[in-house]
């Protein structure tokens, strides 16, 4: 009998001493890091800011009339019949996710003694917030990115957000002047390799983009001119002669090649990707370039029918005669097989050229913004050049960016053709708008669509797949935000993407 009590005692000893906290202390995640250094976070954030533009740029290319889809695919009713819902084109979630990484950099840069990242992080935040406003109008800004602190962020007025972005960029410039980039960490800056001056120039260029987007709003002129003059006073100037591009080190490996090249061109091994057949140059774009005598740029943005000669990269399989460049009517569902129409050209897709930076802003766009500012505001802005000089520099930069021969450019600019020859153009603003629309194409499709919505020029044909005249003017707030932040989304009123306009889109 005593023996059994012994067993019980042994049992009690065992269970009371057997398990200590140490036994349970296995709950540290072995699969991911518990924290991160801001410089590593900003590298990825910049890369995502670029690669996540591929999809919205494609939509922008379609809805700005540059591209349509080839008839090797069933016509997308969402894109070409505008039958999209709040589950389609969700560029919201990814952008806020990306913004949160910049927010992490802002919150942690000081602790990690990487204050030089504050400026770039703010600039990239401004870049992304503007994209959100241009797609969605009112958005959470002041309440945004607060984590558990604000679980239902309120929406801010879009115009106020725009103004806040200018302030944010001013703050970025101040930070950049205060904290020089640490040279050992310059590699983490996959945009400017640690050049604070270039970051400031980019901030100025971005400010100009934000300001000029509002140029058609009546009563906004004094604000815009004052802000432009502030940029001039700051003195660092704008990005000139080169594009702002992101390059984390694109190389010939799966997933690590330039995302545009990877989306529509070739794989890392040089095999053509099936979606090379997807985007097609619109009939409007091809015919306009032919009509304006701008065939040099046509042959850079498009291949002749039959596409690129695989054995001779950058050159069409068929003779590069103007007649061999065939556009596809916008939104047409059949009758234009890929083999019979022009695909994206050598300036963007040349077999083997997989590691070019992903461009987020072109030098040409900046020149056209300056041209528009000078054209609209004249002496009210203290810019040195004339509208014409900025305009012609813009066209020149577009040629340069496309790798087009400038041999005939001088003649073209005095050809007397409307929207090409500045002096001969009946409407200077339209000429600037048209050239800007074209120069933004392929690089920044989303910006091309925004400019198209802002200026309404050039007037591209309506989709063949619809019978009405209405076109998309914005996107729905995504279903994800509606489902989790319903009251604030509903407070923005009923959204009809075919009639609700962004504040800078006045007509």
């Amino acid at each position: 009998m005593k023996k059994t009590y012994l067993y019980i005692a042994a049992f009690l000893v065992l269970v009371s001493t057997g398990c200590k906290k140490d036994y349970l202390n296995v709950n540290t995640n072995p699969n991911s890091l518990p924290t991160a250094t801001p410089s590593f976070v900003i590298s990825n954030a910049m890369n995502v800011s670029a690669s996540s533009l591929v999809s919205p740029n494609e939509l922008g290319m379609m809805w700005s009339g540059h591209w349509t889809q080839s008839n090797g695919y069933i016509l997308s009713t969402t894109t070409f019949q505008y039958q999209f819902t709040n589950n389609d084109y969700n560029y919201w979630d990814g952008t806020y996710d990306n913004l949160n990484d910049y927010k992490f950099v802002l919150d942690n840069a000081v602790a990690y003694k990487q204050e030089y990242l504050l400026g770039p992080a703010k600039i990239m935040m401004a870049f992304n917030f503007q994209k959100l406003v241009d797609l969605y109008g009112n958005i959470p800004y002041t309440d945004a990115l607060q984590g558990v602190k604000v679980l239902a962020p309120k929406f801010d007025d879009q115009k106020t957000v725009y103004e806040n972005l200018i302030t944010l960029l001013d703050g970025a410039i101040a930070d950049l002047k205060k904290y020089p980039y640490e040279s050992t960490n310059a590699g983490a800056d996959i945009i400017f390799k640690g050049s604070n001056l270039n970051w400031i120039k980019f901030a100025n260029s971005l400010k100009l983009r934000i300001l000029m987007r509002q140029s058609r709003i009546s009563g906004r002129d004094s604000y815009i001119t004052a802000e432009i003059n502030k940029i001039n006073t700051e003195g660092s100037g704008f990005i000139t002669g080169t594009e702002v591009g992101v390059n984390p080190g694109y190389n010939a490996s799966a997933g690590q090649i330039n995302p545009f090249y990877n989306a529509y061109g070739y794989s890392e091994t040089g095999a053509r990707i099936a979606t090379n057949n997807y985007p097609r140059i619109t009939e409007f774009a091809v015919n306009t370039l032919k009509a304006t005598g701008d065939t040099i740029r046509l042959k850079r943005v498009a291949y002749a029918v039959g596409n690129e000669d695989g054995a001779n990269p950058g050159v069409s399989l068929k003779p590069e005669l103007t007649s061999n460049y065939v556009g596809t009517p916008f939104g047409v569902g059949s009758g234009f097989l890929p083999t019979n129409t022009s695909a994206v050209g050598p300036a963007f897709l040349t077999k083997g050229v997989f590691n070019k930076p992903f461009v987020i802003m072109t030098a040409a766009e900046i020149q056209f913004n300056l041209a528009e500012a000078k054209q609209r505001y004249g002496a009210a802005v203290t810019l040195a050049g004339t509208a014409k000089s900025y305009y012609e520099e813009g066209v020149k930069q577009s040629y340069r960016a496309l790798g087009a021969s400038t041999t005939g450019l001088a003649a073209l600019l005095v050809s007397g053709v409307n929207d090409v020859d500045f002096d001969a153009s009946t409407n200077k603003l339209n000429a600037i708008a048209y050239q800007k629309w074209f120069a933004l194409g392929y690089f920044n499709g989303l910006e091309a669509w925004s400019e198209y919505r802002k200026s309404g020029y050039p007037l591209t044909p309506q989709s063949r797949a619809v019978t009405t005249t209405a076109r998309p003017l914005r996107l729905y707030y995504p279903g994800t935000e509606l489902g989790s932040n319903g009251a604030n989304v509903n407070a923005q009123g009923t959204i009809d993407p075919l009639s609700s306009r962004i504040f800078w889109d006045i007509d």
Partner: protein
């Protein structure tokens, strides 16, 4: 001690006295129903202690008076009483069947008498499991237990199965039942590997109280699997072979009138636009189209596809080939061979089985091969009894990774796919010459795209039990399991010929501006390889003190337990998306960087538990069962967290009341037994994703780029106060035996409430995060179950039993995170499953039609085009759970013949078949057959001038030969929502025992049996369900109810089985 000695002495004396009266020796033999000897049976004289034990051949001797009654018993057999009139007896024992006095193995191996149990359980014996000779245990359970839903969510040589008891409790966490094999807590992976024939029985513990001793793991109920133990007696060897055929049981309904073709090329109203739909469809015909919107089959000879370099082309009749899609699949063949050895002596038993199962699936080339060995033995040495159990299973699978089914749907019915198998040699089957411009030859795709993997599972336990005192048993069980998988996925490299890329043309007479080159040849198949391996290791130790002690009149059975559990997993994969040298699938044969990843997890738990069963002497009709368990789990552990955040106590009580024992006067010829039961239970659950307490920072997409490092902030924000959730359950039930025990009825009602679920809540992305992990939400789950067993006939040669099971289960989302009324599980943008506040879950939502205000069910069309207008809003279509389940089974025995079958009905919900969208896109669906001018059925439009609703009898759809279907009807996903009910003949079996006389002559066999059987021989489904088996689902997660071409078509299986015992 003295007392015991005295009573023993008295007993001996008494025996001596009896012996003196007319006693003589009685000899006999003990056999089972099949005539095989039963060794070591105990032979006892009724009312006396005198006993004898039979030898291993079943022969016994005992001294007994002619008036005495002998009680003969053996493990696994029912006790039998025989009068000792004759001095030579032949005793036949029958295997023990479920009866009310049966001892049931409950949670943690605690044995209880049936009448003591105050909650619902079900026991399925081996005979019921192997009726349909299913190679998978779970599928063999389908329809046999009320409240148990077995979902075969995908069909292949490695079917994906999901087992749910009493519906869903957790919104986003695990709802699957715990699987316990011989006391060890394992995972459902083991279910695919165990040989059903090795299983003695499965006890299904349905509710929280039943499984509470398993801790968190038991919150969803448990399947307690007991494997076979050797019968005491001489060596018994049995051999069994099954040969099984498998064929597609049904496919979606196809149109058989139209061949290849696509969209009309002229814009509506444009120059040269043809106004006749028939004329347009002639124009739409294309030799190379995957879509099937061409003109009507006319039997004329037409080219399929484009020309070969020599100018030749495949010229075939333009007419439908009957059943061509079905013929594209194979008739699967599988064979199962197994042999088992068992035996034992008075103090030990052993069981050994070896099984091999080879399956060739319906998708050509898919196969699996499983070999398993199981050893179980036990030994008693005095007060010590030990048992040892080990199983090793190895299974190899070779399956296609291609969407074979979708590829078939993209093939028009005039193309004879059966002639396309030899794509390596046949120029028109080869990708360089295959007719279809957009989709490759299904046989090519499935051949080049392979998933090959090998699973190895070792599982075993060692039990020691020591009877320290008559009232105390000390018990320990150590169990281990290791699962490992090694996998290689590969895609064969294929480079298109220059001719295919840019030369192939449509023969001139048929060319409609089709250009040159096969569209799909634009991109070569680069080939790829992924190599992965994973391992899972589980260690589980249970230490118990089992105390049986009376305190005056209070009789107690107490189990105190201490449980340790550890699970470790590791998986690693590497791969390359291109290979250099064809056919060499090694990651070193690559261009560019390696892709890959690694995942490791460790979780640990410990717990103390007690189970107390008490009743009063002479009042054994009332039993109280108390349980409690204290658990601590690593999932919630941090050194900085308080103990009450990672450890928790929970408890329950159950009461059983045998009415007919308490009031014997109630017993009558029609009421033989009545028991009422009730239970209350609170169960803790550590249902949090592993390492869910930490915000994680992982590599950004595609990073690192060379030496450039990139990290990203995780998107799931953990709440700082996370703690385990609790589920409370109440249950009432009763068991009744009626009409001389011929009718048995078991009913239960239960309700479960789960609060503070650890939920990944979707928060606005504008917060910077997409999800918040937090204790939130409340869910109710309730239902009832009825089991009816009837002995319809009991004659000498004829025995017929039927059983009927009905269960109903529903749930309701009581609360979610404030401000959130619903969230999505997943699916498609326009058709998905959701959690919706105030409703049962999952709820299917799809876009759909606009309906008229008059409630006539009319669907809005465009007044100009006549096309239905898509309402893009996602509307509730109902719950995807099958709330009602009915099982019906019958066992009929006539002489040597046995005839059994089981049927199951499930229904009460809806399903969504994306196949419908795919088949509308391709034009293969029967519903797309209406391609002449017509008014969209049951439609109305809004008059543009008056703004009023007008019943549409006049506006024809614009292009019924294409535009209606592909551009309009296809995108309205309400079209593919159908009721999810079905009736299946789960299994059917006709077997014949070869007469003992015949078998004996062979001098080899002691018994033999042959059987023919079938599984899922027929399936009834809703007439609107054109698509597939409602059980199928694209996910095995909680968001069930959506199926697509990823699941191969449903199959029926039939075969024959032979069984010999040596």
């Amino acid at each position: 001690m003295k007392k015991i000695l005295t009573s023993l002495l008295l007993a001996v004396l008494c025996t001596a006295i009896t012996v003196s009266a007319q006693v003589r020796q009685v000899t006999g033999s003990v056999k089972d129903e099949s005539g095989a000897a039963v060794g070591f049976a105990t032979v006892k004289i009724k009312g006396q202690t005198a006993a004898s034990v039979a030898d291993e051949k079943g022969n016994f001797k005992i001294n007994a008076a002619a008036t005495a009654t002998l009680e003969i018993s053996a493990t696994g057999f029912a006790l039998i009483e025989v009068k000792a009139k004759s001095t030579s007896l032949n005793v036949v024992l029958s295997r023990k069947v479920d009866d009310l006095e049966n001892v049931v193995v409950t949670a943690q191996g605690i044995r209880k008498k049936s009448k003591e149990i105050g909650y619902s359980y079900s026991r399925v014996s081996n005979e019921d499991l192997i009726v349909g000779r299913s190679p998978q245990l779970t599928q063999a359970l389908a329809g046999k237990v009320s409240g148990l839903a077995v979902y075969t969510v995908n069909n292949s040589v490695d079917p994906a199965v999901k087992v749910v008891l009493r519906g869903y409790r957790s919104l986003t966490g695990n709802n699957e039942a715990l699987v316990v094999i011989d006391g060890m807590q394992t995972t459902s992976t083991v279910l695919a590997l165990i040989n059903p024939n090795d299983v003695e029985s499965v006890t299904v513990l349905k509710g929280g109280q039943a499984a509470t001793l398993y801790g968190s793991a038991g919150v969803n109920g448990a399947l307690v699997i007991t494997t076979k133990q050797g019968d005491k007696g001489k060596l018994k060897v049995s051999y069994s072979n099954s040969t099984n055929f498998e064929e597609v049981s049904f496919l979606p309904e196809f149109q058989e009138l139209y061949g290849s073709g696509s969209h009309y090329s002229t814009s509506f109203g444009g120059a040269g636009y043809l106004t006749s739909a028939e004329a347009r469809s002639k124009d739409n015909w294309r030799s190379y189209e995957n879509q099937q919107y061409g003109d009507k089959y006319d039997g004329s000879m037409r080219p399929a596809g484009r020309t070969a370099p020599d100018g030749s082309y495949l010229n075939v009749p333009y007419s439908n080939i009957d059943n061509i899609r079905k013929k594209t699949f194979d008739v699967g063949l599988s064979t199962n061979n197994q042999v088992s050895f068992q035996g034992g002596d008075a103090s030990s038993t052993y069981y050994l089985s070896v099984e091999n199962q080879k399956i060739n699936g319906i998708v050509p080339g898919d196969l699996s091969d499983r070999t398993g060995v199981r050893i179980k033995s036990s030994k008693e040495i005095g007060k010590l009894s030990t048992s040892f159990n080990a199983a090793f299973t190895q299974a190899a699978y070779d399956r296609t990774g291609a969407d074979f089914y979708a590829d078939i749907l993209n093939t028009a019915s005039w193309i004879d796919l059966t002639k396309m198998r030899d794509w390596r040699n046949d120029k028109f089957a080869n990708p360089n010459g295959y007719y279809n411009d957009y989709y490759n030859n299904p046989y090519f795709n499935k051949d080049i795209n392979r998933l090959r993997y090998k699973d190895a599972n070792i599982q075993g336990n060692f039990d020691v039990s020591y009877k320290a005192a008559p009232w105390l048993t000390i018990y320990n069980r150590l169990a281990v399991m290791n699962n490992s998988r090694t996998q290689k996925n590969s895609v064969e490299k294929f480079t298109y010929s220059a001719w295919a890329k840019s030369g192939a043309v449509v023969p001139a007479a048929f060319d409609k501006g089709d250009g040159s080159g096969i569209y799909r040849a634009i991109s070569d198949v680069l080939g790829s390889v992924t190599d992965a391996s994973s391992t899972e290791n589980v260690v589980n130790n249970e230490f118990q003190l089992r105390v049986k002690k009376d305190i005056s009149k209070l009789q107690n059975n107490l189990t105190l337990g201490y449980s340790l559990y550890q699970r470790y997993t590791k998986s690693i994969n590497i791969g390359s998306t291109s290979i250099v040298v064809p056919d060499v699938y090694n990651v070193s044969n690559r261009q560019g960087v390696l892709t890959g990843g690694e995942s490791n997890t460790t979780e640990r738990k410990f717990g103390y538990y007690l189970d107390l069963n008490s009743n009063l002497k002479n009042m054994e009709w009332l039993n109280l069962n108390l349980t409690a368990r204290y658990d601590a789990t690593s999932r919630f552990f941090k050194t900085t967290r308080a103990a009450n955040q990672y450890s928790y106590l929970y408890y329950g009580a159950a009461l059983s009341f045998v009415l007919t024992d308490a009031f014997p006067g109630l017993k009558s010829d029609w009421l033989n037994y009545a028991k009422l039961r009730s239970s209350y239970n609170k169960n803790g659950n550590d249902n949090i994703p592993l390492y869910g307490l930490d915000l994680s920072y992982s590599n950004g997409g595609n990073y690192p780029y060379g030496s450039n490092v990139g990290l990203t902030v995780g998107n799931t924000l953990p709440d700082a106060n996370l703690k385990p959730e609790f589920v409370t359950a109440i249950e009432f039930g009763g068991e009744f035996s009626l009409l001389k025990n011929k009718v048995n009825l078991d009913v239960s009602w239960y309700k479960q409430n789960s609060i503070g679920q650890v939920l990944t809540v979707r928060i606005p992305n504008s917060t910077g995060f997409s999800n918040l992990l937090i204790n939130v939400g409340e869910v109710d789950n309730w239902g009832y179950e009825t089991d009816l067993k009837v002995q319809v006939l009991r004659k000498a040669n004829l025995k017929w039993d039927v059983n009927l099971k009905y269960s109903y289960n529903d749930n309701k989302v009581i609360s979610l995170y404030p401000g959130i009324t619903s969230f999505q599980y997943g699916g498609y943008a326009a058709g998905n499953t959701n959690v919706v506040l105030g409703k049962s879950f999952p709820i299917l939502k799809t876009d759909g039609y606009f309906y008229d205000d008059g409630g006539r069910g009319l669907r809005r069309v465009n007044p100009t085009t006549g096309y239905p207008i898509r309402n893009t809003a996602l509307v509730d279509r109902g719950s995807t759970l099958a709330k009602d389940m009915i099982g019906f089974g019958s066992n009929l025995t006539y002489k040597n013949w046995h005839f059994n079958f089981n049927m199951e009905y499930r229904g009460g919900g809806v399903m969504f078949s994306y196949i419908g969208n795919t088949m509308t896109f391709t034009g293969s669906g029967k519903w797309t057959e209406r391609r002449t001018d017509h008014v969209f059925p049951n439609s109305y439009y809004i008059d543009p001038t008056s703004g009023k609703e007008v019943v549409n009898t006049t506006v024809n759809v614009r292009e019924p030969e294409y535009g209606l279907w592909v551009d309009n009807y296809r995108n309205i996903h309400e079209n593919y929502v159908t009721p999810n009910w079905f009736v299946k003949l789960r299994d059917i079996n006709l077997s014949y025992d070869i007469p003992a006389s015949l078998v004996k002559k062979s001098r080899i066999f002691s018994s033999a049996n042959v059987a023919i059987y079938g599984r899922n021989l027929f399936t009834l489904k809703d007439k609107l369900n054109y698509y597939t088996d409602p059980e199928f689902s694209f996910t095995s997660g909680n968001g069930i109810g959506i199926n697509n071409t990823g699941q191969t078509p449903p199959v029926r299986q039939y075969g024959f089985n032979i069984n010999f015992v040596f």
